[in-house]
């Protein structure tokens, strides 16, 4: 269980004040709260922590932004579960590779994984995981693979430019409303999820905060 100490609370108050100073859309204050000690309640708790770190490396978004220490939405759990159901063996292999390279910076590990073209299963599962974080939607690895190896000539692969064309949309499902409203593509756009703004009237007439305030880049 997470221990709520005086030190944690003080850090939380400080982080909240810092966020308030920058505006309400920025990094969740919970990302800045002192790190609690994880205690494995179930066998996959450790795997999910590994998954959080791998996800940060793959998405380019700091893991503490993806998964705040106090995470009321559980997006990490949802995406982990999607990946686990889709291909548990490949997922475990990816995680073990990551944990087997303790000296490598996350970005290096991610590069190894993404360029491992011999392992088609890993390649497309990784892409599914990246898209899940970015869009809050699950694009199945087999659908990404099918689309990737399809006819790549855009004038043929894109038969219609009609809006919302299903020919363009690779089949996908929104993982959950929370996964959509916490998806990180909006942070990269320095915006907010369409239909989920906690900003104030007129903000659109002014420049947004810098990208780093949305994504907390990896060091």
């Amino acid at each position: 269980m997470t221990e709520i100490s005086r030190r944690t609370l003080i850090a939380g108050v400080t982080a909240t004040a810092a966020t308030a100073a920058f505006g309400s859309m920025l990094i969740s204050p919970s990302a800045l709260i002192a790190q609690p000690s994880p205690v494995a309640i179930d066998p996959d708790a450790t795997a999910r922590l590994q998954f959080k770190a791998v996800s940060g490396a793959l998405t380019g978004i700091h893991p503490d932004v993806l998964v705040p220490n106090v995470d009321p939405f559980g997006t990490n759990v949802e995406i982990f579960a999607k990946a686990d159901v889709a291909d548990t063996n490949t997922l475990r292999t990816i995680l073990s590779k990551f944990s087997g390279s303790p000296g490598s910076p996350p970005k290096t590990v991610a590069q190894i994984l993404a360029e491992d073209t011999k392992d088609e299963s890993a390649k497309f599962l990784i892409r599914s995981i990246i898209l899940a974080w970015y869009l809050g939607a699950w694009y199945a690895p087999q659908d990404l693979r099918k689309n990737f190896y399809g006819d790549k000539d855009p004038q043929h692969s894109y038969h219609s430019t009609r809006r919302y064309s299903q020919e363009v949309l690779i089949p996908h499902v929104v993982i959950s409303p929370n996964a959509y409203t916490n998806s990180v593509v909006w942070r990269v756009a320095q915006a907010h999820p369409m239909g989920w703004s906690n900003l104030q009237f007129g903000y659109w007439g002014q420049e947004p905060p810098e990208l780093e305030m949305f994504t907390k880049p990896l060091k």
Binding site: T59, G60, R162, R163, T181, V185, Q190, A191, G195, F201
Partner: protein, 610 residues
């Protein structure tokens, strides 16, 4: 609620959209007993269910928050409606198992509507442009076209425009809107919505640009969207989601008016009630209206339609369902042409604003996906002598990047960059990115995206019409609407001028264009006339969601369906209201004019009931 209905009313209204809702409100305030029949689902006490449906929808199309489910076969749906997804594939628009409308035209009719409590304006953009003085006198350019009634013009409607702006809450600037002869007796009730960074950038870039004798300027768009707290509703928080649903109702929608109407204590609502026959009695007066009730599962209730009686009847079911109801009302074959159709005009002259949408990347980040979907437009080309030759248009500036332009961004571009595809055309080397490289590339594209929308006037053409399908029915066994739709040379020349204008604006912006040239097989592909270089370009058009015409107003009973009061020439206790009465489409989004005419008619009805 149906069990508590009175048997007889002063007025029965078919349809609970903005037109029917405003009439119900005014009549209720005047202490008249009113029944509103709505074909679709009831207005809920909050929008949580709609928001949940929206968030969960893979394709966040205008219909996505609303029922019935989009994937159902229209033959099984009690109150069906056309959907964006039924227009998605090249073949679907002609497939009756996917498209509620039976389409027989040369090009798809690409606009959709809702049948639900609140009507189609549950997912409107909120744009509240007035028609121009010249729009009511189109005969100065086109002597052969149908005329608006002499009592309907800018001066006579100005009071009603103002009345509506006060009623629904419009934010705008009369100084910015005082162009092309428009004058304002009052200012808008709320200040204009601030312009986006994209608006500001385009306005600077086109400074001094003159086309067809007009200086182009970016003007803030008047919108039914709160720029300050209004009638107990919040100020806009820029959710960038006006279509399909504003999560905080800072944008007006007709459910607000329905709530106010109900609060008068004089208005009853009967939902899941599909009007199927207007029954004519003595002296050509409407005797009663029959409707089919159905249950939550869409199953018809009872073995015969229910009758409701009133002194006056108002049909406000929009420009496809209204003529459908009139044409269905044959009195068991005694009136083969239906009701209110002595002119033979019912169903004819279906119009829209065919929309050309070019998109591209600005040379610098201007941060779309922020603010209302559109906050400004270029309105200077809505009128001019060019209307003797070709259609006028307005230009809407989008704040939602390539969202609908490419079929669902940011998903399309993100999937391209992650999975090594190029549907968006921004990834020609088919790279598959991850990590900070992905962040950098995606950010660069998303923050520079923009799109324009050219809403083109459409020539009235009686070939374009709504009739009844002889073969296809809905879930209640009623004939579905059959639509023939095409674009005339006048309209296509307007699209060509829109393309030329877009090219000039893109050049001023130093923008990189990504607008896709459609295949010839694309049913919405239009071959433009040869340009100045003698080259024929191909573009595609979209529907604007502005369904206009089909029961036009006029001064001649032989050439029009209703008079200036929107009263049927044939039945003096029947009113047909909505954009179906517009003799011409002009270029303004039609809702404000629908609402102004509705309030004018409501006053007329109240007077006739005294």
């Amino acid at each position: 609620m149906n069990d508590t209905l009175q048997k007889s009313y002063d007025v029965v209204i078919v349809g609970s959209g903005i037109a029917g809702g405003l009439v119900a409100l005014r009549l209720g305030q005047a202490k008249k007993r009113v029944l509103v029949l709505e074909a679709g689902e009831p207005v809920r006490t909050n929008i949580n269910a709609e928001m949940d449906r929206f968030y969960r929808a893979a394709a966040k199309v205008p219909e996505s928050p609303y029922t019935p489910d989009l994937a159902k076969d229209p033959a099984t749906v009690a109150a069906g409606r056309p959907t964006v997804l039924s227009l998605s594939n090249s073949e679907d628009w002609r497939d009756p198992s996917k498209s509620y409308l039976i389409q027989t035209g040369t090009v798809p009719f690409s606009s959709t509507y809702e049948r639900t409590g609140g009507g189609t304006s549950v997912h409107w953009l909120g744009t509240c442009l007035r028609l121009l003085p010249a729009d009511f006198k189109i005969e100065q350019y086109q002597p052969g076209w149908a005329k608006w009634p002499k009592d309907i013009n800018y001066a006579s409607l100005e009071k009603w425009y103002h009345n509506v702006e006060e009623e629904i809450g419009v934010s705008g600037s009369k100084d910015e809107q005082s162009y092309a002869g428009m004058v304002f007796s009052h200012d808008y009730p709320m200040p204009a919505i601030p312009q986006s960074l994209i608006d500001q950038f385009i306005n600077t870039a086109i400074s001094g640009l003159k086309l067809w004798g007009k200086d182009l300027k970016v003007r803030s768009t008047p919108a039914a969207r709160n720029s300050q707290p209004f009638k107990q509703r919040r100020t806009c928080a820029g959710n960038t989601n006006c279509i399909p649903i504003c999560p905080i109702q800072a944008k007006y929608d007709p459910t607000i008016t329905l709530r106010d109407a109900q609060a008068t204590g004089n208005v009853d609502f009967c939902y899941r009630a599909v009007a199927c026959e207007i029954v004519v009695g003595k002296h050509e007066r409407i005797d009663h209206i029959e409707y089919w009730p159905y249950d939550e599962q869409g199953k018809k209730i009872g073995d015969k339609p229910v009758s409701v009686f009133a002194n006056i009847y108002v049909v406000a079911a929009h420009a496809i369902e209204t003529p459908r109801l009139l044409l269905m009302s044959t009195g068991k074959g005694k009136r083969p042409n239906g009701v209110a159709n002595s002119s033979g005009q019912v169903g004819k002259n279906l119009m829209d604003h065919p929309m050309y949408v070019p998109w591209g990347l600005l040379p610098q980040s201007k941060f779309p996906y922020r603010g209302p979907l559109s906050t400004s437009g270029i309105e200077d080309l809505r009128d001019g002598d060019f209307r003797k030759e070709r259609a006028a248009f307005r230009v809407e500036i989008g704040n939602e990047g390539w969202n609908f332009a490419v079929g669902g961004d940011p998903n399309i571009t993100t999937v391209d960059l992650v999975n090594g595809l190029n549907n968006s055309l921004v990834n020609p080397s088919y790279e598959a990115l991850f990590g900070d490289t992905l962040v950098t590339r995606l950010r660069d594209v998303l923050t520079r995206q923009f799109r324009l929308g050219f809403l083109v006037e459409q020539e009235p053409d009686e070939k374009n019409r709504v009739t009844l399908s002889q073969k296809h029915t809905d879930g209640l066994g009623l004939p579905r609407p059959e639509v023939y739709y095409s674009l005339s040379d006048y309209t296509i020349k307007g699209l060509a001028a829109a393309k030329k204008t877009a090219d000039a604006i893109f050049a001023r912006l130093n923008a990189t264009e990504y607008t896709r040239i459609p295949d010839k097989q694309d049913p919405t592909a239009i071959e433009l006339p040869p340009n100045e270089a003698g080259r024929r370009e191909r573009i595609r058009f979209m529907g604007a969601g502005h369904i206009i015409g089909t029961y036009r107003m006029g001064d001649d009973p032989k050439k029009s369906v209703v008079n200036a009061d929107q009263r049927s020439w044939d039945h003096d206790n029947l009113y047909l209201i909505g954009s179906g009465v517009f003799p011409t489409s002009a270029t303004a989004n039609p809702t404000l004019t629908i609402a102004a005419l509705s309030l004018r008619t409501a006053e007329n009805i109240v007077g006739s009931l005294k």
